[in-house]
Amino acid sequence: MGEAAVRPLRILLAKLGMDTHTVGITVVAHALREAGMEVIFTGLKQTPEAVANAAIQEDVDVVGVSSLSAGHTRNLPRLAQLLKAQGAGDKLLVAGGVIPEEDLPLLSAAGFAKVFTMGTDTRDIVAYLRAWWAGRGAAPSAPP
């Protein structure tokens, strides 16, 4: 309880499924930290259930999922559904990695606001999140 309220954006970065490529997500994590955000890692080979639990316990504003192997058409909608079911549907969902163009409508319909495909500049990710955060007025979260 400090006298000055500080409210950095909190984001959970997760990897779903079996892929173990961590370079992309690590680069993104460092870029977000440089941008003044609090980045929480969950580790590799996570299930949608585990990521949803972590997102709720950490009370993050954003959940970012990296997917570099198939499975995203099943895992990502499942994660969105779990968060909604547990009253955490207010979190911004974004994804990144190897995601074919034709899957984008499905992810959008599932509740993913943005998909950063391969080759996205980290500055674009930072800019996107900052704009979203500013749009919310960095508003204090309502009761869950």
Binding site: M1, V6, R7, R33, E38, D59, P143
Partner: protein, 314 residues
């Protein structure tokens, strides 16, 4: 919905949101704390601290498993440093605890220090109260990797585990002045490494010297070996934690420790409020007089406080 009532009923999302409010300095956090405060004071608060690379998170992971085996609900607050340059942080402690992600009896929360020194965040004490009120029997506070002077966790926790590793000769030297004197359980982690016997002897000597300077009937700090990555040594650590808790309860120290924490938090909050009030009262004019060296700091402080002294008019 009523966050306080929901978290008292054990709803995870409500507790998580209350911690967020308290971490952010949101006034709603204070309202929640007011409601839940009577329900606090039950949890055993355990600190885990030590130098960077000692394996604190892995040790906490093992302790969670051991406590769950005994049927106890466990909450963890894992603190990592905020970058003083950007205000950002990477919080990765829960990676080592990810096997507990689906266990409903485990709550893990990462906190960034947000400019606070001493190894904890400013919100850590408040967060322990929330978790206590949610009914977690054990609240483990894992500090940032600390050196000699950052030991706020010792004041916060009922029992503090100091984690050391073989081969950190200089670190051990540094620890003896600070951490080692404060912890109640000393764990030598990574005890399958070379140099473990030498480090063990060194620590034993320090503990022996320390014991000699304390009276009879006081807690005798055990030195325990562990290989947390392989799950070895957890049983003995939990047994020592239970013994320490029993020791604290029997001597009345458990309640006294909690009372001291409350008092310290009250004074810290009062201090911050008084400071803000004084700054506001001083006003731009007085501050400018000091800044421009027309008035010395001592006289300025006297002038500011004069109306507050007993017997002063107005």
């Amino acid at each position: 919905m009523d966050v306080a009532a929901e978290l008292l009923a054990g709803r995870v999302a409500a507790g998580a949101r209350a911690i967020r409010w308290l971490d952010d300095g949101d006034p709603r956090g204070r309202a929640v704390l007011r409601s839940i405060f009577p329900a606090t004071g039950r949890a055993h608060v355990v600190g885990v601290t030590g130098p960077p690379g000692a394996g604190k998170s892995t040790l906490v992971d093992m302790l969670i498993s051991e406590q769950r085996r005994r049927g106890r609900r466990v909450a963890v607050l894992a603190i990592d440093p905020t970058s003083p340059f950007t205000g950002g942080a990477i919080l990765g402690d829960r990676v080592r605890m990810s096997r507990h992600a689906l266990d409903e009896g485990v709550f893990i929360r990462s906190l960034a220090t947000r400019g606070q020194h001493g190894g904890l965040s400013r919100s850590t004490y408040d967060a322990t109260l929330v978790l206590d009120a949610m009914g977690y029997e054990l609240v483990i506070v894992e500090t940032v990797g600390v050196g000699q002077e950052e030991m706020d966790v010792v004041r916060l926790a009922h029992s503090t585990i100091i984690v050391a590793v073989p081969g950190l000769g200089d670190e051990v030297q540094a620890m003896k002045a600070g951490l080692l004197e404060a912890g109640e359980i000393l764990v030598l982690n990574k005890a399958d490494r070379e140099g473990v016997d030498e480090t063990c002897r060194h620590l034993e000597l320090l503990l022996h010297l320390r014991a000699g300077s304390r009276g009879a009937g006081t807690w005798s700090t055990p030195l325990l070996r562990a290989v947390a990555a392989r799950g070895e040594g957890g049983d003995a650590i939990v047994a020592a934690l239970d013994a320490h808790r029993a020791h604290l309860v029997a001597s009345g120290e458990f309640a006294r420790q909690s009372a001291r924490c409350c008092e310290a938090q009250f004074l810290a909050l009062a201090r911050a409020a008084v400071l803000a009030e004084l700054k506001a009262r001083a006003g731009a004019a007085l501050l400018e007089e000091v800044r421009s060296r027309r008035l010395d700091p001592y006289s300025a402080a006297e002038r500011l406080l004069a109306p507050l002294r007993p017997g002063a008019c107005g």
